[in-house]
């Protein structure tokens, strides 16, 4: 078990490193922060030269990456190369950490909803069959096919005017406010995912219920729901969670769309704001944060698989 966890952590670290490397190189080659001086040359050459010296802009991209990477422990993400609008300090790290926190909360809330409702829909579909199954599958299909931003726009249009939910634009605090704030974005995120993953639960559960141990359990007189919930369900969750762990990056993309529609101050808002600045250092920091979130959530789902199916880790450890 410990060996398995250690290997997963090493993998997660290598993932974050890989993403940060590619992001730094690609953004660094695509965007030149010197664009801000394009209109005032030669008047502002001193500032321009200072910026070049500070960010080593004339060094090779690999050398710059090395400086950035080795500076991480002491400087964090460092400072923005392009002055940030609406921001007193130029430090990249603190606002980004706040944004990542909001995104992580939304991801967690959305994934918990996804887990619960995928299982509910999957179980009902697999057990009832017939009309309930057909109806649920159709609904799942449509909710999975609609892009997250569209689901979000529709929910915002229909449900925000009711006044049950808090708007992210107005301030507020406390647990009740958090629930009112996160409910719609999390449901938006979950709707699409439930549509996709309830199908995995349904087909896996149907297959498990046909296997010998389920038939034996029933033959020995166990109630139907006991067979499902105590015996078959746990096994049928494995394929669902495995697919989820591979899809975490796409889930985060959907999370971005949901955040954006509901004006949450998560990573998406920083990302969109930083686009117009075309600051490679800010963009790299955001993408690195994204990778950290993805690696962390993937690690959790991997551990969940290990707990659901004890054979997985022990066979490889």
């Amino acid at each position: 078990m410990i060996g398995y966890v250690a290997r997963r952590i090493v993998f997660a670290l290598s993932l974050v490193w890989g993403v940060s490397f590619f992001a730094f190189v690609i953004f660094g080659l695509s965007f030149d922060p010197l664009w801000q001086f394009a209109l005032c040359r030669p008047g502002c050459d001193p500032q321009r030269n200072a910026l070049i010296a500070k960010f080593h802009l004339h060094d090779s991209i690999l050398h710059r990456y090395w400086i950035w990477l080795t500076g991480l422990p002491s400087h964090g993400f460092g400072q923005a190369a392009v002055p940030q609008f609406r921001s007193a300090t130029q430090d990249i790290g603190p606002p980004l950490l706040h944004g990542a926190g909001v995104t992580a909360q939304l991801m967690a809330a959305g994934l918990v909803l996804t887990l619960v409702f995928s299982v509910l829909v999957g179980v009902v579909s697999a057990r009832r069959g017939g009309l309930a199954d057909a109806g649920l599958r159709l609904l799942a299909y449509v909710s999975w096919s609609l892009p997250t931003f569209l689901t979000g726009v529709l929910l915002a249009l229909w449900l925000l005017p009711t006044g049950w939910f808090a708007s992210a634009i107005l301030p507020g605090a406390g647990v009740v406010h958090w629930i009112r704030l996160m409910a719609l974005p999390a449901v938006t995120l979950a709707l699409g995912l439930v549509g996709l993953y309830s199908r995995y639960v349904r087909s896996a559960l149907a297959a498990e219920l046909r296997r010998q141990y389920a038939v034996v359990a029933r033959a020995k007189g166990l109630s139907d729901s006991r067979v499902v919930y105590r015996h078959a369900l746990r096994n049928s969750l494995v394929p669902f969670v495995s697919v989820l762990s591979l899809d975490i990056g796409a889930v985060l993309g959907a999370c971005f769309a949901s955040e954006w529609v509901f004006h949450l101050q998560g990573l998406a808002s920083y990302f969109v704001a930083s686009m117009s600045n075309a600051d490679p250092f800010v963009l790299t920091a955001i993408v690195a944060m994204v990778a950290v979130l993805v690696a962390a959530f993937a690690l959790v789902t991997d551990l969940l698989i290990a707990w659901l199916d004890p054979r997985t880790p022990l066979a490889n450890a």
Partner: protein, 271 residues
């Protein structure tokens, strides 16, 4: 089958949109500024006009072109890259296979809409192929994963040994023997990519950091305009419903087609 037909119709419409659109994409009818016309058979605006006086039918046709061709183009590019990379890794196996698995994890750890940022930040007008070309550099991973895993099961089969024994080269073995048997997986993954890339393109254009030229409407852009509303009056229903239903219908049909293909071609591996 019906789903596949709808997708086909969308594709044809996407190609011939410039010919069948009743007006030029950017043409404004100033008499309808802030006075959107409902859909009607008379008056030359079959699907009505939007809030600033665009003809909805024209907007919708151009948006379908932009979005659907983007999705299809991306699937094509992603399939070509994915087949080549997946086939090499799946045939050679070993360390290459693990390297590919790692690379795929790295690529899919970044949301696709972030990837499109690289293109979108460029200030100059984007050519039609900019989105699909960039996205296929990202979504090839799905095809590569499918090809590689199907190669992994095919590699140990007898007919591969037989071909090997009769002196087939690695290249011939890969493309004459292994790939045709993996075609089902390729087709299923490729159709799936159409849906994914369409979602991503629609999302990015919805975020409005996409193509902002008014003569190049996109489905995401139309929905975004409708959601933004007007300061004068609530957005009329047809401005809302038309792009929403169009996008929804296309995606449901693409996904349904991908699923049916999966059931027909890959009976063992379907979810």
């Amino acid at each position: 089958m019906a789903a596949l037909l709808v997708v086909l119709v969308f594709t044809i419409v996407a190609f011939i949109a410039p010919r069948i659109a009743p007006y030029a994409g950017s043409q404004l009818f100033f008499q309808f500024l802030n006075d959107p016309q409902p859909p009607s058979l008379h008056g030359g605006h079959l699907l009505g006009t939007d809030v600033i006086g665009h003809d909805m039918a024209t907007q919708l046709l151009w948006a379908i072109r932009e979005t659907v061709l983007g999705g299809l183009g991306c699937a094509l590019g992603a399939t070509v890259i994915g087949v080549v990379v997946g086939a090499v890794a799946g045939y050679v196996g070993g360390i290459l296979e693990q390297l590919l698995a790692w690379l795929v994890s790295v690529v899919v750890a970044v949301p696709a809409i972030v990837v499109l940022a690289i293109v979108v930040v460029q200030k100059s007008p984007l050519p039609l192929w900019a989105f699909p070309a960039t996205l296929s550099l990202y979504l090839w991973t799905y095809v590569a994963r499918a090809v590689q895993s199907s190669f992994a099961t095919l590699r140990v089969r007898e007919f591969v040994d037989a071909a090997h024994a009769s002196g087939a080269s690695a290249l011939r073995l890969t493309f004459r023997h292994l790939l045709p048997n993996a075609m089902g997986a390729v087709l299923v993954a490729g159709t799936g990519v159409v849906g994914q890339s369409t979602v991503v393109i629609a999302t990015v254009t919805f975020f409005k950091y996409g193509n902002q030229q008014s003569d190049r409407p996109t489905l995401g852009g139309l929905i975004s305009n409708a959601a933004a509303g007007t300061p004068f009056a609530p957005t009329p229903w047809w401005v809302w419903v038309l792009p929403t239903v169009t996008l929804g219908l296309f995606l449901v049909c693409v996904n349904f087609a991908a699923d049916s293909l999966d059931e027909v071609l890959e009976p063992a591996g379907s979810a």
